[in-house]
């Protein structure tokens, strides 16, 4: 094969294809009758016959149909978020892409927002009525009752649909670390292995504040949420009526871009061009998005 030609310079002195005694160091090398073939292997076997898998047994067939049914059902429920692969990657020849690091993995996933939309297909068409809208956030609110006790406390607001974005979401840390707070999860089961002898008042303090929060009236809640929304400086902090679900999602998708624009004051700001060039490189937590974190 061509391999021999390429190696001619070094391999010229070599004898026939087989018939060399074993090199020292090889197991059994002390045996003079042992002949080894030291030619490089064929890079690809001449006759490559991969074994063909046998047909499915009825058992397997049923298991797989169960699986496929389940998957389809799961993909149809409102908690499923679609994988939207980045447009660039979709147009690439190979849909399975290199994933050597987290940044490469992240690159696979595009954001669908106003900037990346395809102007030719985004015009509303009749057939769009039959296509599922892609969800970027699972619809946690109102889809089903959640057993909040089983979730960590910082996710409770998220479950209620009161996630305001930002690093903390709807979760307000109360007190300082010195308070030694206890999670409420533990104090309502009677044989709590942890709550034996310590920190009763802590439990109650925690529980009270939680109670207060659950018993508050609607206006109070609205007011608080609006406050939180202002604090977090985020436009989609509405506890919202169900109508603007879609808008909310849309905002959620491109909120990092929007906020970045807001901070920059639009695309181009001549006055701030030179003196304001280097202090908004990374933005704050809201600005940390797909684009900023690719290193």
């Amino acid at each position: 094969m061509s391999g021999r030609g390429g190696r001619g310079g070094r391999g010229g002195g070599r004898g026939g294809s087989r018939g060399k005694p074993a090199p020292p160091g090889m197991p059994g090398g002390d045996d003079p009758s042992l002949i080894v073939n030291d030619q490089p292997q064929e890079t690809y076997p001449k006759f490559y016959k991969p074994p063909v898998a046998p047909h499915l047994t009825p058992l397997e067939e049923r298991a797989i149909s169960c699986f496929v049914k389940f998957r389809r059902a799961y993909h149809n429920n409102p908690l499923y978020t679609h994988r939207h692969i980045n447009g660039e990657f979709l147009s690439a020849k190979d849909p399975v892409l290199p994933r050597h690091g987290q940044s490469q993995v992240n690159e696979r996933y595009g954001v669908k927002n106003r900037a990346t939309i395809d102007p030719f297909f985004s015009v509303p068409m009749y057939s769009h009525r039959f296509v599922d809208e892609t969800r970027t956030l699972p619809k946690l609110r109102n889809t089903r009752p959640w057993v909040k006790d089983l979730f960590p406390e910082e996710l409770w607001a998220t479950l209620d649909g009161r996630d305001t974005g930002g690093p903390k979401g709807g979760f307000q840390t109360r007190g300082t670390a010195s308070r030694g707070t206890k999670r409420r999860l533990h104090d309502d089961d009677e044989d709590d292995p942890y709550g034996d002898g310590d920190g009763d008042e802590d439990i109650f303090g925690w529980g009270r504040s939680q109670k207060r929060r659950e018993n508050e009236t609607e206006e109070e809640r609205k007011a608080r949420i609006e406050g939180a929304g202002k604090d977090a400086d985020n436009e989609d902090g509405d506890a919202g009526d169900p109508d603007d679900e879609d808008e909310e999602e849309m905002e959620a998708e491109d909120d990092d871009y929007d906020s970045a624009e807001d901070e920059d004051g639009g695309d181009y700001n001549a006055e701030a061009y030179f003196d304001n060039g280097d202090d908004d490189d990374f933005g704050d937590d809201d600005g940390v998005g797909e684009s900023a974190m690719d290193f």
Partner: protein, 705 residues
Amino acid sequence: MSSMDNFPQYASPCSLAYALALESTLRLQSGTLQRIVATLLARGRSNVRDLALHTSLNPKQVRHGLALVIQHNLVFYQTDHETAATTYEANPQASYHLVRIGKILDVIDRKYGIMARNLVNDLLMLGHVEIAELVRYHRLKHGPPKVKINGEQNHNHDHDHDPDDDFDNDNDLENGDLDDSFNDDTHYVNGNGTAHGTADDAMPIQANEVYDTLAQLIAAGVVESVSVTMFQSPQDLKASVEQECMKEFPNGIRGAKVMTEFDTMVKSQIKAIGVERATMKRKLQENALYEPSNIKRRKLANGGMSNGFAGDSGGSILRDEPNMVVRLNLDKCLVELRNQKLTEHAEDFVGETTAQVFAGLLASLCKKVYRCQHDQYTIMTEEEEETYFTGVRVTSEEIFDHLSPGVDVSTGIGAASEEDIDIRFAEKIRKYPPQIQGSHIQGTLDEGDEILGSDDEDYDRSGEHLKGTHVNGHRGSIAQNGTKMGGDYSGESQSSRAEQMRHMRQHLLILTETKQQFVRHCGQNEWTVDFGPLIQQLRYVELDTMIEDNFGRQGLRLTRILREKGKLDDKTLPAMALMRKPDVHVKMAEMEMAGFLEVQEVPRDNNRAANRTMFFWFFDEARTIKRVLDNAYKSMVRCLERLEVERYNKRAILSLADRRDVQGKEEEMLRGDVYNEYLEFIEIEKKLLSQVSRLDDLVSVFQDF
């Protein structure tokens, strides 16, 4: 990356390939979830901030994703009491189970009927859920089809209705195709499910029935109640219990006495957690209705219409606690899958009828088998601990009750005259489990036990007794009673039952006598299965097949010799294998390169010359298995990636088939050529998924069973 120092030590090996396999598996889940769990796997435990950093999702998305992932118990979390900061950690076992969903559903279907299957399906869909909600969801989803079954165009597109309604409509969309394709093939082993299934379609599902089935599943352990402690990783749980206990010892733990005190305290705390988890299960088990024989009788009596029996049953116990949270118990599902695998194994080696008897034995044992593998973090209840140390055993009667009604026990036994059978040997009782064979290191470990076991000369006299009755003239009845009729347990005469029992005993004795020792006759009329050695054998069978396929019979011969003898010098090996030395060397080098064999050099003197060095070949089982597993994971990933490529190639057709008006009735809606291409894709997908599930079979044999 600040949390890198407390990177979790998984109980199971979490290699790179494993992580990749998990990641691909997770594609079943949503995009966000997949990314979050994959990042958690790669980075170890992290908090929301870290996750947002590494996935480049915004924190809001991360939190939404985490909520869902916790809902499905794919991650553990741990909240620091002082700082109230929560860290999340991947749960690789649970994530891996996603690939087994199909098998689990199938096995549940065959064992517990179609309603149980649907319930488990719902549980998988919802994650952990309150009982009342589960029942509501189930009735909604699997209830009678409404006028528009399968997603007519006109619902779901008006966007101004409330989301709750939306959810319901989505379910209606699914219910049609979930039901219809299973009705025709559910009665695979025992026809119990059929009546159930068709009844489902005809009339609305009774809540009682759902509660009853759920109670049955909980009593069987397939569904378990959820407590807060389940969301901590076992390691964390133990650590936090230890921390709590540490407070009781303000002076620190020094000295043997205090140490043991501390240990017992930790143990009792952990046991308390286990007890708490199993409360409901025990309550339901105590209820006599959930003895398996009763369930069967009830099913046989009136084809699944259990309304008459539901009065004071487990269902009503559950009704009293609508807020109990339940989830699927994956450990138990694994046990069911193992039973299935072992039955297949027995069928390969012995025969069909005998395998059915074996299945009956496993089913009756299964009640007391809680999980396949234990490690130091496993939290066991008291009963479980008991059975763990003493082993489980069942009597012949129990096995007989669990035998599926279609089995004809009189077939599949050879006819030997009475004189040819040495009853002392055939009915010999073996009180002690056999040694795990094969690994040369363990072979020498406890010889005391072996002697103890082999000294035992007792045998089961009940066999003799049965034989006596047989001689006394029930021989004629075999022909009539060959097939058991549906409800003959109470109705038919005692003699036929005894006759069948005798036949079944013969099958069990066959199983005890096989080389594999499927069953151990452990006491008067008592039987047990030694899972450890049996699975070990199964592993060897799989390994042998693999080696034979790759390296031929000679390679297999060599590895078996090495497995038997331990380390062998390369001079003795050819003599032992009756092969030429060069052949042996070529084979060995080949296998060493593939990672099935290892070689050790022992120089005879200081200057390590090759001719003054001895080479010992050996077969390192643990290392080989690890390598095989690694390869299996890699192949799984490749299959799933291939699937991705195929999806990409057919993306136009798939997007068409995914449309709401097309979904579920592709045949009518799609144009002929498009439909053919769609079918082609379905075929490819099926092949690839079956390959994945076969690889998963391998993985479960080598790792999980």
